[in-house]
Amino acid sequence: MQTAAIAERTHDDVTLIQLSLSASPGAFNQLVRRYLKQVYSFNYHFVQDVQMAEDITQETFLRAFRALNRFDQTRPFKPWLFTIATNLCKTALKKNQSAPLLLDDDAVEGNILENIEAPQAREDSISDEGLQRVMHQALENLSPSVRQAMILRHVHDLAYEEVAEAMDANVNTVRTWLKRGRESLKIYLETHGGLNQ
């Protein structure tokens, strides 16, 4: 038992999955602890609702657990987990009419430009809390696709191909989203004092 516990703490994803499949439920608990923050953050930025993000996060892990025997162990676990989360977020947004209003890329860009042109009191240096708020605002102003691509690539360090797989999109489309997201974020943060000039 102690050996299994050590293995759960130290082993990689594939080993933990194999342990889970061999009737060791504690192994999957370790996977939950390992990815809970990332999955919750991803879901939160996608649906922008705390309660919904919690429910989707729980459902993501439950579905992953049920489908674990169908998971291709030659591939990385994290993109597969984010694929489940992405699908659940999309379904939840379709069901919930109070989903983020900015679903259109053009509308989002217009919103960003409007915010840029609006007079803002800039501070040379802002607090961590202020920076966090500005960063959240910057992310929220991105369209859902661009935001998810940015988070998957730059927060969760997924490769372009993995981002494309998780979002069920073309790699070139993902590159376009990322390019647009970087530019928009930079402009927004420059305007709102999130970046040091």
Binding site: L36, K186, N196
Partner: protein
């Protein structure tokens, strides 16, 4: 944002992504050294990249982990219960399959042992009910060889058959008369022209009747020869 700035941003992210060759990295870093504006943009993007990583990760609410682990535990319990049920059902299924196989085998073996065709099938023997004789296929009716039909004229031309070794009595059995005298010739003609089955039946009766009569005659012949050797 100018095109050169966009290109520089792409170069910076290619550098962050590790998508540059060593030569490209060397060229890029030398560009940053020589161009202060490019260096400033690179620093901003580095900060943005780092802040994005730091700030985008949101701390999950307290209790979410326990909630998920509890749900997983329930899920695991359900799966375990299903597994246990399947395992418990396994011996019962095996026994049922064994009984079914034994029953089918017994019926097959019983059928092999039962003679086919010669003896009637006995059913419901084990149920206590009176045995029911199964229907036995009726044997094919075999008709006797058909006697060639003769016209009445041909019959008249034919000599009177004398199958009976009846000799004229000499007063011992005055009542014994030749059989042909008992059968009128129109009757024979009627028999010959009758339907097959009817004719066959009549002819059979007639034939065996004659045989019996012939046997009686022989018996009396032998008796007469034994008791009255002086006759003939």
């Amino acid at each position: 944002m100018t095109d050169s700035e966009n290109n520089l941003i792409e170069q910076c992210y290619a550098y962050f992504d590790g998508a540059m060759t060593p030569d490209e990295v060397e060229t890029f870093l030398s560009q940053l050294k020589n161009n202060p504006e490019a260096r400033q943009l690179f620093d901003q993007l580095t900060q943005l990249h780092q802040e994005l990583k730091n700030q985008a990760l949101v701390e999950p609410p307290a209790g979410l982990e326990d909630r998920i682990l509890g749900a997983l535990e329930q899920e695991h319990a359900v799966l375990s219960l299903e597994t246990i049920r399947r395992r418990r059902m396994l011996p019962l299924k095996a026994v049922a399959a064994l009984l079914l196989g034994f029953g089918v085998g017994a019926v097959f073996y019983f059928n092999l042992l039962t003679p086919q065709g010669d003896s009637p099938q006995v059913a419901n023997h084990a149920s206590g009910k009176p045995p029911v004789i199964a229907e036995v296929p009726r044997p094919t009716k075999v008709s006797l060889p058909r006697k060639p039909q003769l016209t009445p004229a041909q019959l008249a031309m034919q000599p009177t058959p004398s199958p009976f070794r009846i000799r004229p009595t000499q007063g011992v059995f005055p009542s014994l008369t030749p059989i042909q005298s008992l059968i009128p010739s129109p009757t024979l003609a009627n028999i010959a022209s009758a339907e097959d089955t009817q004719w066959d039946d009549s002819f059979e009766t007639l034939y065996y009747g004659v045989e019996d009569l012939n046997a009686q005659v022989a018996f009396y012949d032998e008796a007469l020869a034994g008791e009255f050797p002086n006759i003939n």
